[in-house]
């Protein structure tokens, strides 16, 4: 991983205190993989860096895009940062999603600020393996949306909108919300994914792999979905974090491995874990 002074080249502000930050960080952009994150120093007044997952990395332009929501003091300071300012950024960090099986169909499920790593995964899967992305939010999505021209089995009714940048790349995508957002499935995003999976024939469904990032209730629902349909599920987790390099063991999650409990570090042992390794999601 690299520590660099990254210049802010764009900083877009969206509804619901969501923000998209584009940083010039060539070494990070070159090495970043979906599921990994960067550890951002938001100011000299805040001791700890803030982990933010990577939404896109453009190795040619040397930029990484981050989507974050203001949830506390650190992200509030980050939201006030201006284009042209520099931020100390450490990354890319963590074990990425395993996207290595061309024969799988990757079902990407993101909720809120858990959507970014799913977008990154989808973009990297283009031309390699099948994928479909389902995104859920209770506030307006911070992306350009448009009606999808790609049919998806099982998806009915109002769920017509897709993220335009994914549609452009030929990645099928649908949205879910409980907030009555136009063009979205009314309900939780794992339920939308479930309708899709149930509409697939047995052979097609059996090659699906569930990848998820989002709030804990959403991850619980995805883990349940994986168990119900006997599909592998991988969850990307968050925890309060200090060093981000595996030195302090502050950011742990309990795992069960060969019948024994361990605490694994979310920063370097994760953030992606198989759902069946996590007793919390059993």
């Amino acid at each position: 991983m690299f520590e660099c002074e990254a210049r802010i080249v764009a900083h877009a502000h969206h509804a619901g205190d969501q923000h998209i930050l584009r940083l010039e960080a060539p070494s990070i952009a070159e090495h970043a993989l979906p599921g990994q994150f960067v550890h951002v120093r938001v100011s000299d007044c805040h001791l700890l860096r803030r982990p933010v997952s990577i939404m896109l990395a453009d190795a040619e332009k040397g930029t990484v895009d981050l989507l974050y929501k203001v949830v506390g003091e650190g992200t509030r300071v980050l939201a006030a940062c201006q284009v042209g300012q520099q931020l100390s950024v450490l990354g890319p960090i963590g074990r990425p999603f395993d996207l290595g099986d061309a024969g799988s169909r990757y079902v990407l499920i993101g909720g809120g600020v858990g959507i970014p790593p799913m977008i990154f995964a989808a973009v990297r899967l283009v031309g390699f393996a099948d994928c479909v992305l389902f995104a859920g939010s209770e506030v307006a999505f911070p992306f350009a949306l448009r009606p999808s021209t790609m049919l998806l089995p099982g998806v009915q009714g109002n769920a017509i909108l897709s993220i335009a940048s994914l549609e452009d790349r030929g990645i099928p995508c649908r949205l879910a919300s409980n907030a009555g957002l136009y063009g979205c499935f009314e309900g939780h995003v794992p339920e939308l994914a479930r309708q899709y999976l149930m509409a697939l024939d047995e052979a097609e469904r059996s090659r699906c792999v569930l990848l998820a990032c989002g709030p804990h209730p959403m991850l619980h629902a995805v883990a349940r979905l994986g168990r119900e349909l006997d599909l592998p599920a991988f969850l990307s987790l968050e925890e309060f974090m200090a060093c981000g390099v595996g030195g302090c063991a502050g950011c742990v999650v309990k795992t069960l491995e060969e019948g024994r409990e361990h605490y694994r570090r979310v920063c370097v042992d994760g953030p992606v874990f198989p759902a069946n390794m996590l007793p919390e999601f059993a």
Binding site: L48, R49, G74, E239, A242, C243, G246, C248, A249
Partner: protein, 311 residues
Amino acid sequence: MTVTDIDLSVEFAGLRLQTPIVLLSGCVGFGDEYTRVDGYSHEHVGAVILKGTTLEPRLGNPPHRIYETPAGMLNAIGLQNPGARHVVEHILPRLPHDKTHFWANANGTSPEEYAEVARIFDDSPVTAIEINISCPNVKAGGIHFGNDPEMAARVVEAMRPMTSKPLITKLSPNNADIAETARLVIEAGSDGLSVINTLVGMAVDVDKRIPVIANVSGGLSGPAIKPVALWKLHQCRAIAARHGIPILGQGGICSPRDAIEFAITGADAIGLGTGLFLDPLLCPKVLDGLRTYLERHGLGSYAELVGSLAS
């Protein structure tokens, strides 16, 4: 004299350290975690102290284990470690012992456990053993060894016959008389002191009305504790100097200036811990800052700066 002529190597408890920087236990895993960071080099540090180790494996505390506080952070990791034998058999062999010193950090719930940990590390490539006396003494109702000077000394006494390696006792700021603890652990056979360990604190989640840290209390570290650390170092300096015992000064060092303050107050070596979380490449910056300062003040070595505080 130019900055390149300045000698930053130090003598510490009979060991030659290539720089005065020591990476602190609990902040750098089992020694090689920071090698993940491009630009990090063990050659910038005099020693790396491994994560706190007990006789048997420990799972550690449930999350949340850490929390940011004003100018600091709380941690309650709970001594997660795979046990001393595992560290010696599986972790130490893969560390680059030719690049820097690696020191153990011994923990226990009884003097006997500390002694056994010392015995296990005695037959290993670590070149010194730091003693974390801020552990609860189970036979004394959970009082921390470090909070009672007599109990602290008993830990050192128990470990002393088990090893010929230097013993460095990490003193707690959470007791009434740190200088008295320093005196007793030196008399019990400690070859060096680490000053200070974290201060105990807590934080509250006002939405859930629960302690943020699952363990309720945690150790406060970072710039918030720097003035306390300097004062405790100052209090220990006289007794340590009288016995010719070096001190590893630590507590919130985040910049070259912080390191210089500790050196002037009497730190024979300077510990970096939480400061690495801000800046994983802090070590070369501190070394550059030290060289520049020493040159500006006409000093040829770090050692000349140590304890130069005017009374």
